[in-house]
Amino acid sequence: MVCKELIPLKKYILQRLVISVITLWLIVTVCFFLLRLLPGNPFASTTIMTQETLDRMMAYYGLDQPLWKQYLTYMGNLLQGNFGYSLKYAGRSVNYVIASTFPVSAQLGFQALVFGIPVGLLLGILAAKFRGRAMDAGINVFVIICTAVPTFIIAALLQFVLGLKLGLFPVAQWKSFSYTILPTLCLSLGTISGYARSMRTLMLEVDRQDYLKTAKAKGLGNARIVIFHQIRNAIIPMITNLGTEIAGMLMGSYVIEKIFSIPGMGAYFVDSIQGLDYTMVMGLVIFQAVIVIVANFIVDLLYGIIDPRIRVA
């Protein structure tokens, strides 16, 4: 039997770093060329623009240059941390848009996760503990509703009932903590249902494991078994997706941000793609890619530490 050697932690980190940089470069390059292949131009609007004007606009923004030249210019600016200015919204630098909208989306996403994950886990645990009973059925119905009903309908319903009729929360905008409650609630529903479903399944799987039978045979209390043995073991597989999920949530939700008039990143993603705002799309994609890569890098790293077998050469 050949015993494979463990890669030292520093080398492992370096490897992951190099892979991350290459991944990012690939994303930037593919995205740059794919965007240019899309039909249309960033200056098209519903008003008539003459070809002469269009040609001048293309020349002004350097879009009449050969693609390779545009690519080199873009990469040169990118290496200096300059995403450029929006082609659609003159005067708005992509850096400024990211700097001003990301904190909003990140706060909303973070609040939704902080609220959604514990609630989801709790519901999953309760559903598993009370399997087959009314509690389990009730939670299942709630989870199905959260999954099946589109967010914009739930959002409109919450706005109408809690905002307009009961006057408990503002209907929209982003002015103080009270304004964040309804959108946080809406955004967290997906997380709650996802975690509740997964946690229930994992709890039931763990329930059949030998170590749990041993714990019961040892005469440990029910609460102790659930908390220290069942939940602890069930929760580990869920960490895997946490990195990607956090990254996704932090980048904003188009639907929620539109409905609640939240000045986050989500709307920019969709609007800039629809309007072929090359610089804005590139900036946002690169930023999201960096977030996802960093999140995965950290998760990989943590796994490498927690489970050294992953670092086997």
């Binding site: 249309g40 098209a44 519903t46 005067g91 708005r92 539109k258 709307a267 309007g275």
Partner: protein, 583 residues
């Protein structure tokens, strides 16, 4: 083991830091997103206490007017292409003449004269200041126009300025063929501005042009950042923009430096909110969070109380445009160029029913190639004074069938089944799709045509296809100014909607039409001019590549405690000049 503990500690620390950051908040009124409040105070503008953000669900006192409208794309006055931007310019800039409800009144202009050739306009200006107290000079007004003609400034407005006003050497300057000093836009001294036209422009009366001041040094200093934030934008008008949170809100504070500050725009603070979801907008209006919604979607007209809805017509027309070139296919070209076929499609449409079902904010039209807000006087409407002949509003199915048969006979078809396949290109958007389905269905029901398929594309893609003539039928919307020529010029040979590729490829060409429009635009006598326009319009109705559908408009929801709200699409402005909020 020690390493693991370190990492775990690090993880917990990061989580706690994020938690703390989160609790700090990123709220748009909390100045995290914008520190523009500083710029307002630096500029010396008036910032009354009512400008402070209102918490909770109240829109504040009568000193504040809170409304929902779409945000500007940019405040770069050179590169701006959108009406939305102009709403902001109107509120924040001085003007030579300020339009209100379609009438231009001198603001910065103290006195003006035109020479006997009707080509040299000289304006004597009042002394006035930017909101930071520095004087505005004639150079600033001249630069606003010149910068848009400068080929190196990325402006898309040059062709409009050249076509509508024909400033001396403007085209040559735009083409890089002459120096800026040769253009007919000059500041003779600090308070005298002179505009020289290449030839008399009958529809230009010396006042009906929107000219704002723009500081050349400030533009150079800002570079690409110009107009991106309140810090990169200079104000001089009724209000100062103090905060702009992208996708959320703009705040304007009254500018006491403005020339007419004591007479107009008495509301101290304007808060313009963005709420792109109409359900949210209506909920905010009903809960009293906002005092006005500028544009109410069709679906919500029945939900809101009737007495809060105000209708404002748009100066635009919507029509189905025929690509008479047939995308290089001779058979298609013959069909799409055939007058009887076009008449058949036009007479088959019951415009009243279509508009009522699909687009209640629109008004059905059967004749206008120029929008009904154009060419009117305070006493009478252009359409009444200069009538033309066209199809009945409710259509005429029998007549439509007769025209179709005539078309089939002329083109040598024995039945509609032999007609070539046609594609109707339109935007990938619910309203446009619904309109397309309705029109195609009526053509099918009335004429038995099943050769027209709908092609939905995203807006940039659809525009590109239109500009490269890759369509058979295209649903177009054309806007114009106060003069009929702004609509009729689209369809002259080489016109911007006609020869959209600017390479001599016209979908409509008629020498008589061109001559009439040309003659009209240089005929100074109004009555004769309008008569010529009407004749040209009749030619376009009879022979042009269009089937008119409707003219559009908007419904605004205005709270009952708000008086004096005015929106005029001709002026391109939300006019709050005499607004009062009696809340």
């Amino acid at each position: 083991m020690t390493n693991r503990k370190k990492w775990l500690t690090l993880g917990i620390t990061v989580a706690m830091a994020l938690s703390v950051l989160s609790s700090c908040g990123t709220y748009s009124d909390g100045s995290t997103l914008s520190d523009s409040g500083e710029s307002a105070s630096e500029s010396g503008s008036s910032t009354a206490s009512s400008g402070e953000s209102s918490e909770g669900t109240s829109s504040g006192t009568g000193d504040t007017f809170t409304f929902i409208a779409t945000q500007p794309n940019t405040l770069n006055m050179i590169q701006s292409q959108s009406n939305l931007d102009n709403y902001c310019f109107y509120l924040t800039q001085e003007m030579l003449f300020r339009p209100y409800d379609g009438v231009y009144t001198a603001e910065v202009v103290d006195d003006w004269e035109v020479d006997e050739t009707n080509t040299v306009y000289t304006y004597h200006l009042k002394e006035t200041n930017w909101s930071d107290g520095t004087p505005i000079t004639a150079d600033d007004f001249a630069y606003y126009l010149l910068a848009q003609l400068d080929p190196n400034m990325g402006s898309a407005n040059a062709s409009t300025l050249i076509t509508n006003y024909g400033f001396l050497n403007a085209q040559a300057y735009y083409n890089g063929e002459c120096d800026v000093s040769e253009v007919g836009i000059k500041a003779l001294d600090d308070y005298t501005l002179q505009l020289t036209l290449e030839k008399p422009v009958a529809d230009f009366d010396g006042t009906n042009i929107n000219v704002y001041p723009l500081d050349a040094d400030f533009v150079a200093e800002q570079g690409e950042a110009l107009g991106g934030t309140p810090e990169n934008y200079m104000c001089s008008g009724p209000y100062v923009l103090t905060d702009w949170t992208y996708g959320s809100s703009l705040t304007y504070e009254k500018n006491d430096q403005w020339l007419l500050a004591d007479e107009q725009f008495q509301v101290q603070t304007l808060k313009m909110l963005e709420a792109s979801d109409m359900n949210t907008s209506v909920s905010m209006f009903e809960s009293g969070e906002v005092d006005m919604i500028l544009t109410v979607d069709n679906d919500y007209l029945d939900i809101l109380p009737e007495d809060c809805l105000q209708y404002f017509p748009f100066n635009a027309i919507k029509a189905v445009q025929f690509n008479t070139l047939g995308q290089g296919d001779a058979e298609k070209a013959a069909l799409l160029s055939n007058e009887n076929f076009r008449y058949a499609l036009s007479y088959a449409l019951n415009r009243e029913a279509i508009v009522a079902a699909v687009s209640p904010t629109d008004t059905p039209i059967n004749r206008y190639m120029i929008a009904p807000m154009t060419g009117n006087t305070p006493e009478s409407l252009f359409e009444d004074d200069y009538p033309v002949e066209s199809v009945p509003l409710s259509g005429d199915a029998d007549q439509a069938k007769t025209y179709l048969q005539a078309a089939l006979d002329e083109l040598g078809y024995t039945s509609v089944d032999e007609l070539p396949e046609l594609s109707y290109l339109t935007f990938e958007n619910d309203n446009y799709r619904l309109m397309a389905e309705t029109l195609v269905d009526q053509w099918n029901q009335v004429l038995g045509l099943d050769n027209i398929s709908i092609e939905l594309k995203p807006i940039p893609d659809a525009i590109q296809s239109m500009m490269s003539y890759q369509y058979d039928l295209y649903y177009t919307s054309l806007g114009g100014g106060t003069a009929p020529s702004t609509f009729l010029n689209y369809w002259i040979t080489g016109g911007s909607a006609n020869d959209v590729a600017a390479n001599g490829t016209n979908i409509f060409s008629n020498a008589d039409y061109d001559a009439l429009v040309s003659e009209a635009t240089s005929t100074m006598d109004r009555e004769t001019r309008m008569g010529l326009y009407a004749q040209a319009e009749q030619i376009l109705i009879d022979e042009g590549p269009l089937v008119m559908i409707s003219t559009s408009g908007i419904y605004s929801a205005v709270a009952d405690y708000v008086d004096g709200f005015m929106y005029n699409s001709n002026d391109n402005a939300i006019e709050l000049n005499y607004l009062t909020v009696n809340k």
